[in-house]
């Protein structure tokens, strides 16, 4: 779960990391009021679960409450890079001497924590890493060992001496936060040295491990604070992994890999998926009904492809679930159903006997995809 900057900064504050004074504004009026409080000059920043705000116009330096209101109004209206925006962060403007960079993350290749630091903050860190790797200090930290004084010395050694002490205090807190909040990424870009010598986190990017939310109740509560599509909310509440796409073939499958493969096979037959939907291990009537509802709520969908390979999931249960779901909701488009694996024959027999007018059975994944593409009116080669 990616946190909004202002949530990240709340965490920073709680862990003793200095951040600028700021106020979350949900309207132009609130933004103007906050700017007034900061003496008439402020920074207005869109709050989205995405990066690249500086370049993309998501950050505005404003010199009056009016200007803050105007920029906020536009941000709320236009969103940012396809993300809806329901709030901005209005912060005091600070006199910056130089911009630095610091981050910690869990490196999935090695299973270790990695700390990164550079004196050239504020730029795109990938670009810096590619162009001038020598400018980036990289430290591997064993998860059982934790951050040691020499790791800290190594990371902050890349900063100018004037900023080292202030930065070291922040970097140490960043690592505590990473572990205590079950984060997989904490990034400060830029970390700034002010004209008066103080070091402050001007930005905050924090990603929390979804698996750990059960033991991070405060962070888990934030999950519901992000604006989310009504359909996605419904899917999530039913425990479904749902992502909206822009094709015409609605997809339901069990297991992320199989669903992704289904998307690929549908593409192979010339059509495009309308969504990614993984029912996971369960395939009860309720699950099937919710899945169908979610998918059929997308007006672009011309056909639904249900692709189940039974392992734990039993195909007879799926078959009954689909039929029961269709008793509850109206199927407005054809449904191509492919059942394989555990109890597949039984499942196919149940479907055949029901002879539901909307259901088209397919014996293999490829034939199911071909059928679905044809029914979507997108049949290709």
């Amino acid at each position: 779960m990616d946190l909004y900057e202002h949530m990240g900064k709340d965490l920073f504050r709680a862990h003793g990391i200095p951040v600028p004074q700021g106020v979350v504004a949900r309207s132009p009026e609130e933004a103007a009021e906050a700017t007034r409080r900061f003496g008439g000059a402020a920074v207005v920043k869109v709050q989205v679960q995405a990066g690249g705000r500086g370049k993309g116009g998501g950050v505005a330096l404003v010199d009056s409450p009016d200007e803050a209101a105007r920029r906020t109004a536009r941000m709320l209206a236009e969103g940012f890079a396809g993300h809806p925006v329901d709030r901005v962060l209005v912060e005091e403007r600070l006199p910056i001497e130089r911009e630095l960079y610091a981050s910690f993350l869990l490196d999935r290749s090695s299973g270790d924590y990695v700390g990164l630091a550079t004196a050239e903050g504020g730029v795109e860190i990938e670009a810096l890493a590619a162009e001038r790797p020598g400018a980036l200090r990289r430290v591997r930290i064993d998860p059982m060992l934790g951050l040691r004084p020499y790791h800290l010395r190594e990371l902050t050694g890349v900063f100018p001496p004037s900023a080292r002490e202030g930065a070291a205090a922040i970097v140490r807190c960043l690592f505590s936060l990473l572990r205590e909040a079950d984060a997989t990424l904490v990034e400060v870009n830029p970390l700034v040295e002010l004209v008066d010598g103080r070091v402050v986190a001007l930005d905050a990017k924090v990603t929390i491990d979804d698996n750990a939310l059960v033991r991070q109740p405060d962070l888990a509560a934030l999950r519901d604070r992000f604006p989310i599509d009504e359909v996605e909310r419904r899917a999530r509440q039913a425990g479904l992994q749902y992502v909206k796409l822009d094709g015409r073939v609605g997809i339901i499958g069990n297991g992320a890999g199989l669903v992704m493969a289904t998307l690929d096979v549908v593409a192979r037959y010339g059509a495009r998926a309308a969504n990614f939907l993984d029912v996971g291990g369960g395939a009860s009537a309720d699950t099937m009904a919710t899945s169908l509802e979610v998918i059929l709520s997308d007006p672009a969908v011309r056909v639904v492809l249900i692709n189940i390979f039974g392992g734990i999931t039993r195909c007879d249960v799926v078959a009954r679930g689909v039929l029961e779901a269709l008793g509850r909701i109206e199927a407005t488009v054809p449904i191509v159903l492919r059942l394989d694996g555990t109890n597949a024959e039984e499942g196919r027999r149940i479907i055949a006997e029901a002879a539901h007018p909307r259901i088209v059975s397919a014996p293999t994944m490829d034939e199911a995809a071909a059928q679905a593409a044809r029914l979507a009116g997108e049949a290709g080669p």
């Binding site: 990616d2 869990l106 990034e187 698996n211 992320a256 890999g257 493969a261 998307l263």
Partner: protein, 295 residues
């Protein structure tokens, strides 16, 4: 004849009396797997379908000579369960549990680095050597003994691809579901090394997914160390961009994690990359035929 699990495998089931544990224990036993012990703290001294249950893995190992553990305990206890198995001297731990916090797994990963215990998973379907032993939740019915090895990040894709192979009469030496969690045990590289050393594996199928750089590292390893033919499939050519670990994540892995990027890396290492699961089976059949013709 196989890798990781085989005729010598003696399984202890951690969480044997739980609903998942008991269900799959019965299936694994029915498949012919030698399940010699179970562990459920507080239930030591009881028996499950005639299998003795112990309070600790150490006791199970001492009393039954178990050398392989399969973990079905809930996520908040699962990392501890792996550590316990390692400290008890189990050679292989297969962790099925999904949803373990990655901080816990990072600690486990660090600890296992110094010992002799191997881990498969977590969040994986397990390992099966068809006809011999099934440790985990892969449906044994779809498999058939043979000479093609399989290693997969995705669980259901193991089933799908094995099914496609079996339909064409192509049997498997061992199928490994390595799991898709960020921090995991045996990966492509380790499985490939084992298949390469296995005289009874003629070809390896590698099933990847978008995200991370496991496939890129596998490609580099294949180029340098693997002579056995490899056929690959990467799920997610059409998938929405995977979750990334932020900007810094991309630097560390040195990969953008797309299916196209992964396929390209593998193809550069001489791997035949299929675009769909059925194409995997086609490519495997073709390679095996060519090999037979050459021989």
């Amino acid at each position: 004849m196989s890798i990781l699990v085989g005729a010598e495998t003696r399984v202890v089931v951690q969480g044997i009396t739980g609903s998942e544990g008991s269900f799959h224990t019965r299936r694994n036993v029915a498949y012919g797997t030698r399940v010699v012990a179970g562990v459920t703290p507080g239930k030591g001294g009881q028996a499950f379908d005639g299998i003795p249950v112990f309070d600790t893995v150490a006791e199970a190992v001492r009393e039954t000579g178990a050398n392989t553990s399969v973990v079905f305990v809930p996520p908040r206890f699962a990392a501890e369960a792996i550590l316990e198995a390692a400290d008890a001297g189990v050679e292989l731990v297969v962790c099925i549990t999904e949803g373990i916090p990655v901080r816990d797994m990072a600690e486990v990963h660090s600890y296992l680095r110094r010992g002799a215990t191997e881990l498969v998973g977590p969040n994986c379907p397990g390992v099966i050597t068809p006809g011999v032993a099934n440790v985990g939740i892969i449906p044994g019915e779809v498999c058939t003994p043979g000479r093609v090895g399989l290693v997969s990040r995705s669980g259901t894709l193991v089933y799908q691809i094995v099914h496609e192979l079996t339909r064409r009469g192509i049997g498997q030496s061992t199928c490994v579901g390595m799991g898709g969690d960020p921090v995991h045990g045996i990966g492509f590289v380790e499985a490939l090394a084992r298949f390469e050393a296995d005289p009874d594996t003629d070809l390896v199928v590698l099933t990847g997914e978008i995200g991370g750089d496991d496939e890129e590292r596998a490609a580099a390893y294949i180029a340098d160390h693997v002579r056995t033919p490899v056929v690959a499939y990467i799920a997610g050519f059409e998938a929405p961009p995977g979750k990334r670990m932020g900007h810094a994540g991309a630097i560390v892995t040195g990969s953008t994690g797309t299916a196209a990027g992964k396929a390209e890396a593998l193809e550069a290492a001489g791997v035949a990359v299929a675009r769909t699961p059925s194409e995997v089976a086609d490519l495997v059949a073709e390679r095996l035929d060519r090999r037979a013709t050459d021989a």
